[in-house]
């Protein structure tokens, strides 16, 4: 009984912290329309800042709390909105999400750089002191304060959003930004305020939840707060009461799971302990699947003009041959280390390429491509890795799992789909990859390089050229697909699901097919990546690794195959070459990818289409193409001279006016 009470107390406290973090998410989403993937990272960073102030600089703990929650975090949130998020206003929905993913990656990098090296315990209010619920169950003051603060936050947010004019106006801005302006509210200022509020609640949640961990850890703390996303989704990103209920259920479930699920030896082959860790994420996944989705959105379709050329077959073939030849010549001049870097880059490029049909053409964002890649590497290692069969197994396993993941996720759209895929990746991190069946905990497994058609591909040079050949074949095949009916259907689906349905297209089959295709390509990429580095481990395919992959795809041009190639290679080169210039800064490639991702608002189509356009503009002597036009832009009227133009007005083109019909 005492044990049960203790677990209940811990559960309620955890739930309280989740509730605060989740309500921050809901507030940001409800008032700025942006789902802040980085919320967990914001909480983590400010938990570290809090630790820095209290334990290192010996501030008064109350003063530190006030400064962090009421000053530092809101200012940082407001700056984030002004500098980055605001630019995404009015662009496609995924642009703002990509910006928050980039922010997430950047914050992970910064925290790891500043605090990652050492382990510290998080400070808590009044240490271990507390009051006795029963003679055996002690409730610390920190826990008491957490619960009280959660309640206070709930009441505060409820009153703010539903009773005050500024709160109602913030919700109005999400509904109809232009109209809110016409009413006299200041939409830009309200967006800034909502981010300040979201960051403040995120920081408070981070401070309260951090003592649950024995030691502060960048990833563990981030993902601890990430659990709160499940609660926010249960509240459908709108309802604060439901969010609080969800947070409490999550907190209690987590606590009981820790207490009552059998304690196996550390990461035994039966992944029970992994199940415990990933329980909240599994709940997130289940909630997403069970939750009723809104009807298909037809009204809010935005014309998102992307002038991405699709190369005709001969051009793509010639380009492919040239790239392979160039690579074959290049590797012969490179040092061994450089060849390995480039080879890894090309293999990663194949994983990035898997996003081209899925996200670039089909508009379905996935945050678990590296997980599919990991499955590919796993299959390659276990099914006779030294042969063609291993590659087939990788393609097959990843494709089938991709379809299985997609099957329930088909009813989800946009943001929810992205969250479900991330939850899947996270569950695989905990329940499968670290087990002895797969990559073993903290260890690696050996993946042989395949020899195909009697060719020896064991050397780095030949394998890198082989990877380039595989990439080019895939790209040529995908482009052929893009020009065909399936490609058209994908683009139509991205533009308007409602229109596709009314035309009789079977979107379920289309989504399933493109998901399986994308997962299969990612699996192949993962198998080849594993073979390139020969000793892959679970961390190579961890869920957070999927985020830079998505950022690379977006930054270099999500709808282009050449962007995937350049993205993969530059990521690999940055993580070795540029890294060697600044050995003191860990994971520099995260910083650069994050920075590039944040800049996506300036050029949502990506780098490759931008450069192509620039060149075309220069050589054809035309002005640069306008990237996005508002959907409301009326059809060009200048060329059409309608009836009855007043004689005083000379038509600009000099064409004769059509005579009046009378």
């Amino acid at each position: 009984m005492n044990a049960f009470l203790s677990f209940t107390v811990i559960g309620v406290v955890t739930g309280a912290a989740y509730a605060i973090a989740a309500s921050g998410l809901v507030v940001t989403y409800a008032t700025s329309g942006v789902f802040n993937i980085a919320q967990g990272a914001i909480g983590m960073v400010f938990a570290y800042v809090f630790w820095q102030l209290v334990d290192v600089w010996h501030w008064n703990i109350l003063l530190a709390t006030l400064v962090v929650v009421l000053v530092l975090a809101p200012v940082a949130g407001a700056l984030t909105e002004v500098l980055f998020i605001r630019r995404a206003t009015g662009q496609a929905w995924y642009v703002s999400m990509v910006v928050t993913i980039a922010l997430f990656v950047l914050l992970l990098f910064l925290a790891d750089w500043a605090w990652g090296a050492n382990l510290h315990a998080a400070p808590s209010f009044f240490g271990d002191r507390g009051w006795h619920l029963t003679s055996k169950v002690l409730v610390t003051w920190h826990e008491t304060i957490s619960i009280l603060l959660a309640g206070a936050t709930a009441v505060f947010l409820r009153v703010l959003l539903y009773r005050t004019r500024v709160g109602i106006a913030m919700r109005a801005v999400v509904d109809n930004r232009a109209l809110a302006g016409l009413n006299g509210a200041r939409p830009a200022w309200l967006g800034t305020f909502s981010w300040a509020l979201g960051a403040g609640t995120g920081a408070l949640a981070g401070i309260l939840i951090a003592p649950i961990l024995d030691n502060l850890s960048v990833l563990a703390l981030t993902f601890l707060i990430f659990y709160a996303y499940g609660a926010a989704v249960l509240g459908r990103l709108r309802s604060l009461p439901l969010t609080f209920l969800g947070a409490m259920v999550l907190g209690l479930a987590y606590s009981y799971a820790v207490g009552y699920l059998p304690q196996n030896s550390f990461f035994d082959s039966i992944p029970i302990s992994g199940l415990r860790e990933s329980l909240p994420v599994v709940m997130l996944f289940v909630v997403l699947l069970v939750m009723k989705q809104g009807s298909i959105e037809g009204s809010r379709v935005r014309a998102f003009r992307e002038s991405v050329d699709v190369a005709p077959f001969t051009r793509s073939l010639v380009t492919g041959v040239l790239v392979v030849v160039a690579m074959a010549i290049a590797v012969s001049f490179m040092s061994v280390g450089d060849v390995v870097d480039v080879g890894e880059g090309v293999a990663l490029g194949i994983v990035v390429l898997s996003l081209v049909p899925l996200a670039g053409w089909g508009g379905q964002v996935s945050l678990c491509q590296m997980t599919f890649a990991g499955l590919g590497a796993f299959a390659m290692a276990h099914v006779d890795g030294g042969s063609f069969l291993g590659l087939l197994a990788a393609i097959g396993l990843a494709g089938v799992v991709g379809a299985i993941v997609a099957l329930p996720a088909l009813r989800l759209r946009g943001l929810y789909l992205a969250l479900a895929t991330f939850a899947f990746a996270f569950a695989m991190d905990n329940m499968f990859f670290p087990t002895n069946v797969a990559f073993t905990y903290g260890g690696t497994i050996h993946v042989n390089r395949p020899g195909i058609f009697g060719l020896h591909l064991a050397s780095n040079d030949s394998f890198t050229v082989f990877l380039t050949v595989v990439f080019c074949l895939l790209a040529i095949g995908l482009l052929a697909l893009r020009r065909g009916p399936f490609g058209r259907l994908l683009l139509a689906m991205k533009d308007s699901e409602a229109a596709c349905v009314t035309l009789g297209a079977n979107l379920t089959r289309t989504k399933l097919a493109v998901f399986a295709l994308s997962a299969a390509i990612a699996g192949l990429g993962g198998a080849l990546y594993g073979a390139m580095i020969t000793q892959p481990g679970a961390t190579d395919f961890a869920s957070e690794q999927s985020l830079p992959i998505l950022l690379l795809a977006v930054v270099f041009g999500m709808a282009t195959t050449s962007g995937a190639f350049l993205g993969g290679i530059s990521y690999s080169l940055v993580s070795t070459k540029v890294q060697s210039l600044a050995p003191g800064i860990p994971n520099l490639q995260w910083a650069l990818t994050g920075l590039a991702g944040i800049g996506i608002t300036m050029n949502p189509s990506g780098t490759v289409p931008y450069v192509v356009r620039m060149f075309k503009g220069r050589f054809a002597g035309q002005p640069q193409a306008v990237v996005d036009l508002p959907a409301t832009a009326p059809a060009a009227m200048s060329g059409v001279a309608a009836a009855g133009t007043v004689a005083a007005v000379t038509p600009p083109s000099g064409t004769a006016a059509v005579p009046t019909s009378a």
């Binding site: 109005a172 109809n176 006299g184 508002p630 007005v649």
Partner: protein
């Protein structure tokens, strides 16, 4: 009560005598050779338009003529690429729509100008940014549209089309604007509802508010308009009192106008 002196320009030339100032009172809204574009596509090719204080002006013209774009410019939602945009004698090119709204220019944009996920009461609360208190807004809105009072706790998105337009018009009533801009308020509504809305428009006009409105279908608008501007091809091609409109032009632009008028 918005009145003519509310519209007196603060920047009126000091040297002018009062009587002169009265006579030369600038139009509340004036566009001079205004060009505007969506991206690279120019839509307005030099609009000249003056809305005198206390007048109701209807912009008529075929689909795609640029009527709504004129209203986008005059409400600050689209900055002119060239030309001058004056409000009460002040040059305000590039002003933000929210600043213009707080200065007394009330715009009811095309479509349902409401927040569907907010309740009726919350929609009314947003209208207080116009300067009136919450009580004033509710009193005025509910006095004119008792139906809204019955539905004040309901989400605005669940109202019928007519009720939604009533809610949108409540802002024109309650915010005591100096200028009212109405974009196609009759769109998609039953004739009876349209008549009701236009009776509200005349009531507001009777209080001396200058109104600029666009309509694709002229009948309802002409009943309340003091002046009519014909817009075509991004220009104002004719302007005058409704009865001054040349018959052939009216026939060309307004289609069934004469049939209804005669």
């Amino acid at each position: 009560m918005p009145s003519a002196d509310a519209v007196t320009p603060p920047s009126a030339p000091a040297r002018a005598g009062t009587a002169l100032l009265e006579r030369r009172q600038p139009p509340v809204i004036e566009l001079r050779a205004v060009r505007a574009a969506y991206g690279r596509i120019e839509v307005l090719h030099g609009i000249d338009l003056a809305l005198p204080a206390g007048m109701v002006m209807a912009l008529l013209g075929p689909n795609g003529a640029g009527k709504s774009t004129v209203l986008k410019v005059t409400s600050g939602q689209l900055a002119p690429t060239s030309g001058c945009f004056h409000v009460m004698g002040r040059h305000v090119n590039g002003i933000a729509p929210d600043a213009l709204a707080r200065a007394g220019v009330c715009t009811i944009p095309e479509g349902r100008a409401i927040f569907p996920n907010l309740t009726v009461a919350e929609n009314l609360r947003i209208m207080t940014y116009g300067g009136s208190s919450k009580r004033e807004v509710e009193e005025r809105a509910f006095a004119r549209f008792p139906r809204l009072s019955e539905r004040r706790r309901q989400l605005a998105g669940t109202l019928s089309g007519g009720e939604q337009q009533m809610l949108a018009m409540a802002r024109a009533l309650s915010s005591e604007p100096a200028v009212l801009l109405l974009d196609e308020i009759s769109m998609g509504l039953a004739p009876l509802v349209v008549d009701n809305l236009y009776s509200v428009v005349s009531a507001i006009a009777a209080e001396g508010v200058a109104i600029l409105l666009t309509e694709q279908f002229a009948r309802a608008a002409l009943a309340v308009a003091d002046r009519v501007g014909l817009v075509s091809q991004g220009r104002v091609v004719a302007e005058g009192r409704p009865d001054e409109l040349p018959d052939d032009l009216a026939a060309a632009y307004l289609g069934g106008l004469q049939a209804k008028g005669g």
